[in-house]
């Protein structure tokens, strides 16, 4: 058996075990309407899928995550590269990153709603905010970690400053950038749920909030499982990208 199919089988069995334990717990440990067994939850999930409501919520949340995440990365990568490459830029901007990264995005929800309203803009702002500092820090660290001999080798092969940056520092930093983006994606999930709980007309966070209001416990569990699966899937994608790029990222050749 190769290691890939072993991984897949491991995941399937792991998830199955999780649902068995969940079922047993709901039957024998805490038998209460507030803690449903997986079966009614799956049934409810199926109904929501057929009605198209679940996809709508997922798409609303994912769209915001992707937009904010791309915006945050688009700002964070160049800024991180600049901080890592130029000492004056680092001295100037490091206080910013060190300051803002301790103000969590959830603390910014109130101000985001005041500034941008409860529509898309505030969510995208919050996701971008939570993404940008993680990506900056990871990117700058990556630039700093480029081996000295790699740079020296390029210099004595005739590389000018720009070539050292574009052909050595940048590709060597790609795995760090991807790792930073992976961490940022996890933050984005936290942030979007919090933002939608507080102020939103749709999305998985809103679904959670409504389900609580109307005591639809199954809906809560459907939303939770959706979040888990979405996070799991996006993280898988990042892990694959990192593995593909870490060893052999090749920018232009």
């Amino acid at each position: 058996m190769n290691s890939r199919s072993a991984t897949v089988i491991g995941y399937v069995l792991g998830f199955a075990l999780l649902f068995v334990i969940w079922h047993l717990a709901s039957q024998y440990l805490v038998s209460s309407v507030l803690f449903p067994s997986p079966f009614p939850v799956f049934e409810r999930g199926w109904v929501l899928l057929e009605e198209g409501l679940l996809q709508e919520s997922i798409w609303a949340s994912m769209r915001r995550i992707i937009q904010g995440f791309l915006l945050g990365s688009a700002i964070g990568i160049p800024v991180g590269l600049a901080i890592g490459s130029f000492r004056p830029v680092r001295l100037l901007l490091e206080p910013w990153t060190e300051f803002f990264r301790f103000i969590p995005a959830v603390a910014m929800i109130t101000v985001a709603v005041i500034w941008f309203g409860i529509g898309e803009e505030s969510k995208i702002f919050l996701i971008a905010y939570t993404t940008v500092f993680v990506v900056i820090i990871a990117t700058a660290a990556g630039v700093g970690a480029v081996g000295r001999d790699k740079i020296r080798a390029a210099q004595c092969l005739g590389a000018n400053k720009f070539q050292v940056f574009a052909l050595v520092a940048l590709p060597a930093t790609v795995p760090y950038i991807l790792t930073g983006m992976r961490l940022a994606m996890a933050n984005a999930f936290v942030t979007i749920v919090a933002a939608e709980l507080v102020a939103s007309n749709d999305g998985l966070g809103k679904m959670l909030w409504d389900a609580r209001l109307f005591m639809q416990v199954e809906d809560i569990f459907v939303a939770l499982i959706s979040l888990g699966l979405l996070g799991f899937a996006t993280d898988r994608v990042f892990r694959l990208l990192i593995r593909a790029f870490a060893g052999r990222f090749n920018p232009t050749m």
């Binding site: 081996g147 001999d149 790699k150 020296r152 080798a153 390029a154 210099q155 004595c156 092969l157 005739g158 590389a159 070539q163 052909l167 050595v168 590709p171 060597a172 790609v174 790029f245 870490a246 060893g247 052999r248 990222f249 090749n250 920018p251 050749m253």
Partner: protein, 256 residues
């Protein structure tokens, strides 16, 4: 008549938190074109410091270094460097693209690059391995790639800092023989750093023995006038070995 490489009263004093340390003092050496010079010395005597100055990575705090009469200012494509570790290879490029890196910097076309890289792959005995990435190569293969990368760029001279230091004895012997063969074919000027006496005697036209620091400097230069490939068990080789060994021994046990 000026030498090909001239180190003229070269000194290097490092200044750090713990104060100043004079690693190299009054280092004088002249290399002629096409020679294979081995710089031999105990650990910490300043070999890498000398090489880093010649490569242009560090600026001497005293004296001057000239290559073909021109003072060395910063690193350049005229001095190819083979580093001790193999961290200098680019993991994201194939072996072939690593070798062709310098050619690519000069804007050479893809097919021409490829042809040259393949020629140097053959030269270092890695025919057909060009599509592998460094992570798929052994330590010895990586050092071969480093040598090929430096040579493919056609530098005026080659600087090698203990390139085989991290390899096992058998691989090291094989690579020494191959380096000797390659050098016999192209006669590039080489400055080769090592602390292995046998390696120095097997490769060099001259061996320079360094005095240990602080104030490391050249203590003696021993010419090795033996034909290549060298017969390591011959009496003449043994005699050279003994001569260099005594010089080094006096450095390791100065009070005997």
């Amino acid at each position: 008549m000026v030498g090909f490489v001239e180190l003229d009263g070269v000194g290097m004093t490092f200044r750090g938190r713990t104060g100043a340390y004079e690693a190299v003092r009054d280092f004088n050496l002249e290399l002629s074109e096409g020679e294979f010079f081995c710089l031999l010395g105990t650990s910490g005597c300043g070999k890498t410091t000398v090489m880093n100055m010649l490569a242009g990575f560090d600026t001497p705090t005293a004296g001057q270094i000239r290559l073909e009469g021109k003072p060395v200012r910063g690193p350049g494509a005229d001095r190819g460097v083979v580093f001790q570790g193999h961290d200098s290879l680019y993991d994201w490029l194939t072996a072939r693209d690593n070798i062709a890196f310098g050619l690519r910097l000069r804007g050479m076309g893809r097919s021409e690059r490829r042809a040259i890289a393949d020629r140097f792959l053959n030269m270092v005995g890695l025919t057909g391995q060009g599509s592998k990435h460094p992570s798929e190569l052994s330590g010895g293969m990586k050092q071969r790639i480093q040598i090929a990368r430096a040579l493919a760029n056609d530098p005026r001279m080659l600087l090698m800092d203990e390139p085989f230091g991290a390899l096992d004895a058998m691989t090291r012997a094989v690579l020494q023989t191959e380096l000797s063969r390659i050098w016999s074919e192209n006669r590039k000027t080489v400055l080769f750093i090592t602390h292995d006496i046998e390696e120095a005697c097997a490769l060099a036209t001259r061996v320079g023995v360094m005095k240990r620091g602080p104030g490391g400097t050249l203590k003696a230069v021993v010419p090795i006038d033996l034909p290549y490939p060298r017969e390591r068990t011959s009496d003449a080789f043994m005699a050279s070995f003994r001569q260099v060994h005594e010089l080094i021994h006096a450095e390791i046990h100065p009070h005997e």
